[in-house]
């Protein structure tokens, strides 16, 4: 009895071989427990060593192996072949990013934006180390925990038509992370961050298509984070108009958690 196989169509782009991408077709062994990344590794090891792609942990934690699998951004390590068998699987590099080679995209734009939103705890005055940790109740952790689960896999950028049309858009993951720090009771950098995120190419560029949250492998829900940032920003602006003594930040800006 012959081995069960299925077809993998892999997008190739090799700048030294020509200016346009093309597809290579490979027959790979099929087993129920195989994921798309296993199939790629099989090709790399046994069929064609020239296929380039990123991967590391194989368990949905590192966020390296994001690719378009049948036109949807997915982590290839958690996408089983059985979902598509016996139809062929089309594997392409993540959409909305420039392609460097085969399935490898240039992620520098995302990394710059991630850094721009200052995703770390900002204090007006740093306490000395001997004063101890900045303590937090479990309830305070719950307010931002969901938005802290991001693994920077960039699937959300790939799913976002706003980012596709406007590469200047800060984008789902970075804005969700900014929101995560704004919600953190230890953080005092909200105003500083708002100067960066509450702009036309920041939260206000988002039209709430919602696909970023659909493809997120960690259920971060960046779409909700962005809309809540909009609500929090607007509430703050309105309050500062009607409240003559200035807005007390804790009472107001944590509420839209």
């Amino acid at each position: 009895m012959g081995e069960t196989t299925m077809t993998l169509k892999v997008a190739r782009y090799r700048p030294e071989h020509g200016p346009s991408p093309y597809f290579d077709e490979y027959e790979v062994p099929y087993r129920e427990d195989m994921v798309v990344l296993d199939a790629l590794n099989h090709i790399k090891d046994n069929v064609d060593g020239s296929v380039a792609y990123r991967w590391s942990c194989r368990m949905g934690v590192c966020g390296s192996c994001g690719m378009m699998v049948n036109y949807v951004p997915r982590l290839t390590c958690s996408t089983f072949l059985r979902e598509f068998y016996p139809k062929p699987v089309v594997v392409e590099p993540l959409e909305n990013f420039p392609v460097i080679r085969d399935l490898v995209v240039d992620m520098s734009d995302f990394l710059d934006k991630l850094k721009d939103v200052k995703p770390w705890i900002i204090r007006a005055h740093e306490s000395p180390i001997r004063a101890g940790e900045y303590v937090q109740t479990p309830d305070e952790v719950d307010r931002y925990k969901q938005f802290s689960m991001c693994i920077n896999c960039m699937l959300c950028y790939s799913a976002c038509p706003v980012y596709a049309k406007d590469p200047k858009f800060i984008g789902p993951a970075a804005l969700a992370l900014a929101h995560r720090y704004n919600l953190d009771s230890r953080d005092e950098g909200r105003d500083e961050r708002l100067d960066i995120t509450a702009v036309d190419w920041g939260i206000w560029d988002c039209t709430f298509v919602g696909e970023c949250s659909v493809v997120c492998p960690k259920d971060v829900d960046p779409a909700a984070a962005i809309q809540r940032s909009k609500v929090a920003t607007t509430t703050k602006a309105m309050m500062s108009m009607v409240w003559p003594f200035g807005v007390e930040r804790d009472a107001e800006d944590r509420r839209d958690a």
Binding site: P161, G210, V214, Q227
Partner: protein, 135 residues
């Protein structure tokens, strides 16, 4: 393959089609949600024309009312009603995802928020009906 985005490598930049919003089911639903808002704007425009006719006196008001009763106008209103209902339903659903109301240590459930929105909608409709029918 030009590094037009300032990349250090010779990269390939894929083009986005003008019809991207027709490509997948979720994109089509998003487009439908956004396009139906235009019908809300159309209803507001009709309301403004209505007020304008009212300001110009009895004759203008009467002829506007007659126009509202023509089959074309009724058909238009019916289309607007369906579109606005769809638009409202989509935003009610989305609002439950955006609004996070905390009562003490608890977060109000999405179902409760949805119920609140629908109740507010029914109350507003009842108020409008009251003024329309009994005044």
């Amino acid at each position: 393959m030009t590094p037009e985005n300032g990349s250090r490598y010779p990269v390939y930049v894929r083009k986005i089609r003008r019809t991207w919003w027709l490509r997948t089911g979720p994109f089509r639903r998003f487009a439908a949600r956004e396009i139906t808002s235009m019908f809300g704007a159309a209803f507001s425009a009709i309301m403004l024309l209505f007020l304008f006719a009212l300001s110009r006196g009895t004759v203008a008001y009467g002829s506007f009312l007659r126009w509202l009763q023509t089959p074309w106008s009724i058909a238009l209103s019916a289309i607007i009603l369906v579109a606005v209902l769809y638009h409202t339903a989509t935003w009610f659903r989305l609002t439950t995802r955006i609004l996070s109301i905390r009562l003490g240590r608890r977060t109000v459930s999405r179902g409760a928020i949805a119920a609140g929105l629908v109740l507010a909608w029914i109350a507003a409709s009842a108020l409008v009906a009251y003024f329309h029918v009994w005044f």
